[in-house]
Structure formats: C-alpha cells, structure tokens
C-alpha cells in the first residue's frame, strides 16, 4: 500500500550545511500491516509519521500510496488524499477543548463533505462502537486521559481511513489504559485498518506485526 524510496528530510543549518532528520529511507508497508516504529528521541520517528501522513512536504524522494505518486502531487491533492485515506492519533490526544465529545468526533467528517444525516449516523456509530455514548455531551477536560485517547482514536477512524497513524498513542496513559488502547488497535488492524505507530514501548510494539528501528535518521 505504501512504498517509500530514498526519502530524505533535512533542515538548513546555515553556511550551506544541512541537518538530516531522515536519510535514504526505503520502506514498503502492505495493506493490513501493523508496523511499530521505534528508536531513541531525535531518531526521526515522528518525522517519518508526518511524511506518511502527508503533513510534511519538505522531503525528497519517492512516495507511492497505493498506485498514487504522492511526491508528484500538489499540496491540495495531497490534502485530499490524506483526508480520504489517513487517520491520526496523537500522544497529547489533541481534542479541541471547547467542543464536546460528539462535536470532536464530528470535526473530521465536517471537512469531508458528508451530509448532515450521514455525519450524525457515523458519529452515533462511533459513540456506540467505542462505548462512549454516555460521554457525548462532555468536554475533554471532563474525561480521564484514557477516555480522551479513546475519543482520539474514534475520531481518527470515524471517516474510515485505510491507514491509521499513531504517535506515541499511550505515552500519556497509565499502563491499564495503554493496554486498552493497544487492544483497540489490534482489533482495528484485524478489521483491516493498516496501522503505523511510533512508540518507545517494547510491549506496545509487540502488538504490531513488525518493528522498524530508526537511529539518527537511518533505518537500522
């Protein structure tokens, strides 16, 4: 589903020197895969995730998503592709503070041209599926960390993406809540969602089918 070839990401340091965050990345991810990206801080894990998620445009190399050459797409076309195919889960949850759980789930749909009726149905499904119907009118600050991340995951998959990207999804949770989220990931993967997660935890990585180690921008 994803093929990266010779991907490099760098930042200028001045006097013509460059600082490389990612070097010569070649990576294939098949549909239905569950990949854990590991490595020390500063290794380039999140950068790789944001390149896969098409948030970062400052890289070089070739990136094919299914048969689409992402590296040849314009920014707007990439955004459209991302909206259709990718969902994100963040370590900090990044729910919008002033919106209720229901409204937070509705946001991604509002950016994807669903009708009002379809949106309501999809949100209702998600609330039901993640068993958070009782929390739909609460604000994020009224939820525990685990509940917030649950909403974060629900929000990430509500528009049925093919690819779910997760950046340290359990980093802010205590272990039992972390396990719940990882179990949820496993179930989603079994349902056919391709998952790429960044994690420091060997245990969380073990939920995946394979591990990619990054060090100083290189896949090792």
């Amino acid at each position: 589903m994803i093929r990266l070839h010779n991907i490099e990401r760098s930042y200028p340091l001045g006097r013509g020197q460059m600082f490389y965050v990612l070097r010569d990345i070649d990576l294939d991810i098949a549909a239905g895969d569950f990949v854990s990206v590991m490595g020390p801080s500063g290794a380039g894990k999140s950068t790789l995730l944001h390149i896969l998620g098409m948030h970062d445009h400052g890289w070089t190399g070739e990136y094919f998503f299914d048969e689409t050459a992402v590296h040849l797409l314009k920014a707007k076309e990439r955004a459209t592709l991302r909206n259709e195919q990718v969902g994100f889960v963040f370590q900090q949850y990044h729910l919008l503070d002033d919106l209720t759980v229901y409204e937070n789930l509705d946001i991604p749909l509002s950016y994807r041209h669903y009708s009002k009726g379809e949106r309501a149905a999809l949100v209702a499904d998600a609330l039901d599926r993640f068993q958070i119907v009782g929390k739909k009118d609460l604000y994020p600050r009224q939820l525990s960390g685990g509940q917030q991340q649950l909403v974060g995951v629900a929000r990430a998959i509500i528009a049925s993406p093919k690819l779910l990207l997760a950046d340290e999804p359990t980093g802010n949770l205590h272990s039992s809540q972390g396990e719940e989220i990882m179990e949820l990931f496993r179930r989603l993967n079994e349902e056919g969602v391709t998952i790429v997660q960044v994690t420091h935890s060997e245990k969380n990585a073990s939920y995946g089918k394979r591990i990619i180690q990054l060090r100083d921008g290189w896949i090792v």
Partner: protein
C-alpha cells in the same frame, strides 16, 4: 507604590509596540476630545467677556407668520428703552463699514454703528480717552471710538491718538477713545470701531417701518429674562395698537444674550461633542482589548506572584498603575494633538461661530483631558486586571503553558468589538448623512450661474453722494457703460443687495386694483434694485415679458420685474404681466404704482438651504442707491488684469472712491457653506478615526485569537481541514460578532440621527442608501481587518502547531 510604578515603566519599555499603540490610540481619543472641549469651553461654556454677563439680554422682534429674531426700528427701540422697568439700559446697533484715509493708503474698516448706551450696557471703561455721550449720540457728532486691535494695527498704538482727526469715508472724525484688548461687539465678526448710529443713518432712525437694528440690554438687578421678555412683549403690544401702519403683527421679546449668541451653533456643537465622546469610547475599548491580551500573556507571571504570596489587591493595583501610566502618556500626546487640532479648527472653522478665535488649551481643558484619560483608562483597565488577578496557579505554571484563555475573556473581547462596531456604525451613519446633506446643498441650483462671475461691493462715500440720487445714478451708469467694454467682460450689471452677500432687504407693498388691507397688513417681499445687464450677467432666465432697458429711465413709466415665487404667491401662478404693485416708501409721494413688465426665474438669496422667496426688482434709475454690487460675467475663470482695469475705470470717474477687491460669486456662496462643510468635515474625520480604531480593534482581537488558537488550527488541519476551511471559520466567527455590532449600531443610528435633523438638507435622517453604504463600508473594513490575521491561520503548519520533535 514607587516599586509598582518603576515596574510598570519597565514593563512598558519591554513591550514598546504595545505601549506605542496604546498611547497613540488614547492620544487620538483624548486629543479629539480636548480640541472639541476647548471649542465648547470657548463658545458655549465660558461666560461673555463683560461684567455680570447673566444680566445681558438680546431683544428681538417677531413678525406674525414670519421667522423669529427680526430686527427692530429705532423708534421702537426708543420706546422699549424708555418704558421698560426691568431693563436698566438698552443699546441699538447695526454693522457698518468705513474707509479710513484716501487714495492708495485707504483701508476698509468694519465696525458698529451704535447708540451710546453700549458702553453702559457692556460696562467696560475705555483704555484711553472716553466713549461718546448721549448728547453726541443725539446731535450726530462725528466721533469715533477705536478697538484695541484697530489702534494697534492702523495707528501703531500711538498714545497721542486721542483728539486726532481721521478721515472716514471722506469725512473728518475725531478719535475720542480706545477700548481695552478683547473688547468688541458684536463678538463674532471683525469689529474695529464704534460710531454714533444717528449721524450715519439720520433718515432711517426716524422711520418706525425701517427695521434694521439689533438691540442688546442689561437687566436691572433682580430682574429675570422672563420678566423682561414679558414686559417688552407688553410694550410691543401697546406699540402695535399705537402704530398699526408699521407694527401690525410685530411683537418684541427678550432672550439671554449668551443663548442668543450660541443658540444657532449649539445643535452642531453638541452633535460633534457626541461624536468625539464616541471616538474616545472606541479608543478606550481598543486599549481595553490590548490590556486584556497583555494580561492574558502575563498569566504565568501573575501566577508566580500569587504563588509567592501577592494579594489580589496588590496585583490589581500593579496592573492599574500600568493603566494610569498609559493614560498619562496618552493625555500628554493627546493634548499635543489637540494643540495642532485647534490651529486647524481656527483655520477651517466657519466665521459665524462666535468666539472661534478665543479657543485655546487652558488649565480647564488640561485638567479635563487628564481626568478623562485616567478615568477612562482605569475604567477599562479594571476589568482585565480583575480577570487575570485570580489565576489557577497550577494550570498557569505548567511548563509550556501559553496561558489558557477562559471563555469569559473571549466574551469580554467580543463585547468590546460589538461596542466598537456599534459606535462606529452610529458615527459613520451621522457622517454619511452630513456628507449627503452637504452634497445636496452643493448641488442645489441657486437660480443663477455663479461660475465666472466676479462681484465688487462698491459704496459711494456719504460725504460726496449722500442724498444725491442723480449723482449716484450718473456715477453708476457711467461706470456700467465703461465696465462692459473691459476686455474679457461678457456682461456687466449691478444689484443691491447681492445674493449671498449677507445682506437682504424686504419692503412691504400692496397690489393695485385690490382692496388695500391697511399698511400694517401689507405683505413683504424681497426688494432688489438692479442695473445694466444684471440678469444676463447672472444667467437668470427671463420667463415672460421683458427685461429692463433704456425705456425704464428716471422719467420713464415706473416698472418692476418679479420672480416666479412672487407670481405664485401673490397671483396664484396666473399671468402677472401688466399688473401693478405699490411699494411702501417712507415718503408717501414715492408710492406710485409700478407695472410688472417681466417675470424672471427664482434665485436663492441668503443660503442654498433656504427656498427662493418672492422677490421684486426695480430698475436702478428709478430707485438709485449709494451702494451697488457690481456683477461682471467674464470669459474665463481667471482674468489677469481685470481687477486693475475695473479699479482704473472707477477712478477715471472719481478718484476718491475706495475700491475693494473683486470677489468671485462662487466664493460668496462658499462662505454660506462653511458651517455645513465644517460639521461634515469634523464628523467625517471622527467617523474615519472611529472606523480605523474599530478595524484595528478587530484586527487585534483576531490576530490574538489566531495566536492563541494555533494549536487548535494545527489539530483541525491534521484532521483534514483545508486552508480555506480555516479562513472561512475565522471570518465566520469574526462576522458573527461584527454583525451583532452592526445591528445594534443600526438601531442606535436610526434612533439617534433624528436629533441631527436640523443639520440636514434634502436628506432624511433615515436615508436608506446612507445606511446601506455605511453597512457596506464597515463590513468591508471588518472583513479586511479579519482577513489579514486570518491569513496567518491558513499558514499554520500542523507539524509545528502540534510541536513534534
């Protein structure tokens, strides 16, 4: 306290952008208020510059069915003065001018022809010499009292001026006194001398039908204006019965002199004051917004202070001291702006605003400016101070906290924007109405074509021409023949009084062949004397009949021309040609029927805002006068040398005649537009400032919001929002607030602009097009002010916003 002050100064120095914007915003508001307050102080509030000014009254007559504030006759003045028990003394005056000296050194002076009582009524002794006595008044002595300015300007403050003879319009006058600095009457216009009234107009003062005098008096101690007015009205009633020929329908009344002087400009000034207060409120709202934003940025600092034991009072005090420092800075710069503004007001202010030259920044204005600055800033600084002085220490101290902004802060900002937009809407609607009103005035057809017409106000010296109608006629007819041959002159004529010259003359008449209603009931119409090709020179159309020509000489059949309004009012629009009118003269012998030989189009006389009134024109040869306004239609806008040629032509006939400068007729019309233009300019400037401040306010709030919500925008973009979604969201949120402000402002404007109705001409206070335009302009300003910072939201990089790695 000193520590807080030092800290406040340090904090302002650390944020120079904030300090400069807040200071300038306050300075604009305070400056505009101080400048306008100094006008109000000089014009409306400061007492008249005479002892016991509350005792001074103006006495006017009122004619049934006519306007108020009509002048009175000299015999009526004498009766009121002699019979009143509540008025201690009363003087009568009229504006006058004279020519000082002869030949090339001659200068035109403007002054007051007045009865000697003026010096008792106004109660200020002369600086040098004496004032004239009642005897000199009665006998018509040729004496003159100079104002201080005239003494300084024309006589270089010569201490030996008293007793000296000076030539005024070719007659010798003895200078008997010089008044102290600042003494002048009337207060508004140029006033350089006082002369006894009776010797200037010996005939008119005997005629009870000749209403040309203004009366001013001083009440007896203990008497009120109301009592005096009632008594004067009773005296007027007795005169009406006693002298029905001249006084039928005419009553007299008194009002306070201060009210008389400022009554006309009061509505305009109060409108402008309201506008300027609104500008200050908008400026304060902006400063409050800035303080709110700044206070939110400092939540962490305040949390640390609180954690270290600072009380809430201490924190509020510290924030308020910063506000006070800003206020004082704003007031200082504001006063500087006001100082410049006052120069502009003096320069562009209309001449008919009394005491405009007395406007100054005095101690009262400075104190008011400081109090207004400190009070308004404190008022607007209290809210942000109270809001941030109770921080959630735990939350605010969390590492990386950007200072969480609670919903109450958003609400406060939205309310401030709503207030700013509403106030701006109100001001812009007012300014829009005045602009349309002024444009209507400008577009009003005066009934003649003023471009390329030059006028010359020529008064033949009394010493050589008074009571010599043949000599007057000979002079002007020779001059008329000479002027029409000057190069570049297409048509020449003369008229008195000239439209828009500030002079008018009305005479009573009756229509021959109809029953005489009695001279007291004769109707009035504007009475003009014309010479030469006046109608052609002015492009006043002849509608029926003929214009005056060589048949209408002194010995010819007495004739008259009338305007359309005259035919409409007195002949119900039917053909008036061949009808006769009999104009009332002082001497019955002159009351001959005049045949109407022509009808001309209507012209406006006093102001473009006043509809044409019935007028009749008499040929100069049959109604000669010592004074004529010469009218020259020229072939181009600027004719070089025409002034010298005209002067030469006049001096060819009589070398002793003082020739003032030629004035374009358009300039005379322009003078009557000065007041509405001034109102429009001031309100326009204030509305512009208000809109700019409101736009800056909206910009500031949206920019601050964008900064605060960067993370949210990043999340939204990570979740699939397009840049255009971000833009739309911000503009929608901004406009939902702006729309509330516009709606409130619209309602307020609809309710309050009715109060401006007296300042409007040809436009309703609820004119749809103005409101639509103002809504559009303000919305456009709000759109730009929102769009600029909203673009930043479009450029948010989700990776940066979410702070990865």
């Amino acid at each position: 306290m000193m520590g807080d002050l030092r800290f406040a100064l340090r904090m302002l120095a650390k944020a120079p952008g904030f300090a400069i914007i807040a200071t300038l915003t306050l300075a604009l508001g305070i400056g505009a208020n101080s400048a306008i307050f100094s006008v109000i102080d000089a014009v409306l509030l400061r007492p008249l510059p005479f002892p016991k000014p509350n005792e001074l009254i103006a006495v006017w007559s009122k004619v049934q069915g006519d306007t108020e504030r009509e002048t009175g006759s000299f015999p009526d003045y004498g009766d009121i003065r002699d019979q009143s028990q509540t008025v201690e003394s009363l003087f009568a005056f009229t504006r006058a001018s004279t020519v000082l000296g002869t030949g090339s050194d001659a200068k035109e002076l403007f002054g007051t022809a007045v009865t000697s009582d003026i010096f008792r009524v106004l109660g200020i002794p002369p600086l040098l010499g004496r004032t004239f006595t009642q005897d000199e008044d009665r006998t018509g002595a040729r004496v003159i009292v100079l104002t201080y300015d005239a003494w300084q300007h024309y006589f270089n403050r010569d201490p030996s001026i008293i007793g000296r003879e000076v030539l005024c319009s070719l007659r010798p006058y003895t200078v008997i006194g010089v008044m102290p600095p600042g003494y002048r009457y009337p207060i508004g216009p140029r006033c350089e001398y006082f002369m006894p009234l009776q010797q200037l107009v010996p005939d008119s003062v005997k005629n009870r039908s000749s209403h040309f005098l203004r009366l001013v008096g001083r009440l007896k101690p203990g008497a009120s204006v109301k009592q005096a007015s009632a008594e004067i009205s009773a005296i007027g009633g007795r005169m009406e019965k006693q002298f029905p020929d001249s006084n039928t329908g005419r009553t007299y009344y008194a009002i306070s002199l201060h009210h008389d002087l400022v009554g006309d400009v009061r509505p305009a000034l109060l409108t402008i004051v309201s506008a300027v207060v609104l500008v200050l409120l908008i400026a304060c709202a902006n400063v409050a917004n800035l303080l709110l934003a700044r206070a939110n940025q400092r939540r962490r600092e305040i949390a640390i202070r609180t954690a270290l034991g600072a009380s809430r009072l201490r924190i509020v005090t510290q924030l308020l001291i910063e506000g006070v420092v800003l206020a004082i800075l704003g007031a200082c710069f504001g006063l500087l702006l006001a100082w410049w503004g006052i120069d502009l007001l003096r320069l562009f202010g209309p001449r008919d605003v009394p005491r405009l030259d007395d406007i100054q920044i005095n101690a009262v204005v400075i104190v008011i400016a400081l109090v207004a600055a400190v009070a308004s800033t404190l008022l607007f600084a209290v809210f942000p101070a109270l809001q941030v002085s109770r921080p959630n220490v735990n939350e605010s101290l969390q590492e990386g906290s950007r200072g969480a902004v609670g919903p109450e802060s958003h609400r406060a900002r939205s309310l401030l924007i709503i207030a700013q937009v509403a106030l701006s809407m109100l001001l812009l609607a007012g300014a829009g109405l005045l602009i349309k009103s002024f444009s209507n005035l400008r577009a009003t057809n005066p009934g003649f074509e003023p471009s390329q017409v030059l006028t010359l106000d020529l008064a033949l010296p009394r010493a050589k021409y008074a009571d010599l109608p043949l000599k007057q006629q000979e002079f002007f007819e020779r001059l008329d023949r000479r002027l029409r041959t000057l190069p570049g002159v297409e048509a020449a004529g003369g008229v008195t009084p000239l439209p828009f010259s500030g002079n008018d003359r009305a005479s009573s008449f009756w229509i021959a062949g109809r029953p005489d209603p009695g001279s007291g009931n004769h109707p009035n119409a504007s009475h003009l004397t014309v010479m030469g090709d006046y109608f052609r020179a002015m492009h006043i159309p002849l509608l029926t009949g003929r214009a005056f020509d060589s048949r209408d000489g002194r010995e010819g059949m007495p004739v008259v021309m009338v305007n359309e309004a005259f035919v409409k009012k007195f002949f119900e629009g039917r053909d008036a040609l061949g009808q006769h009118i009999i104009v009332d003269h002082a001497e019955k012998a002159k009351d001959r029927p005049l045949e109407i030989v022509g009808v001309v189009g209507n012209t406006r006389h006093e102001s473009l805002a006043i509809d044409p009134i019935p007028e009749f024109y008499i040929p100069f040869a049959q109604d000669p006068d010592r004074r004529m306004y010469l009218v020259l239609r020229t072939s181009s806008e600027k004719l070089t040398g025409l002034e010298n040629s005209a002067r030469g032509a006049i001096h060819e006939i009589d070398r002793d005649i003082y020739v003032p400068n030629l004035k374009p007729l358009e300039e005379l019309i322009g003078i009557t537009l000065a007041q509405p233009r001034f109102n429009m300019m001031l309100l326009g400037v204030f509305a512009g400032v208000a809109m700019t401040l409101a736009a800056i306010g909206i910009y500031g709030v949206i920019a601050y919001t964008v900064t605060q919500r960067t993370k949210e925008f990043g999340i939204r973009m990570a979740l699939g929002a397009q840049r255009s979604d971000m833009l739309q969201m911000i503009l929608r949120q901004s406009f939902s607030v702006v729309a509330i402000g516009l709606a409130i402002g619209l309602l307020a404007a609809l309710a309050l602009t009715r109060l401006m109705a007296s300042l409007l001409y040809g436009v309703s206070a609820h004119d749809f097009s103005i409101y639509a335009f103002v809504l559009f302009v303000l919305s456009a300003a709000a759109l730009v002010a929102s769009y600029l910072p909203a673009r930043r939201a479009m450029k948010v990089d989700p990776m940066v916003a979410l702070r990865y790695e």
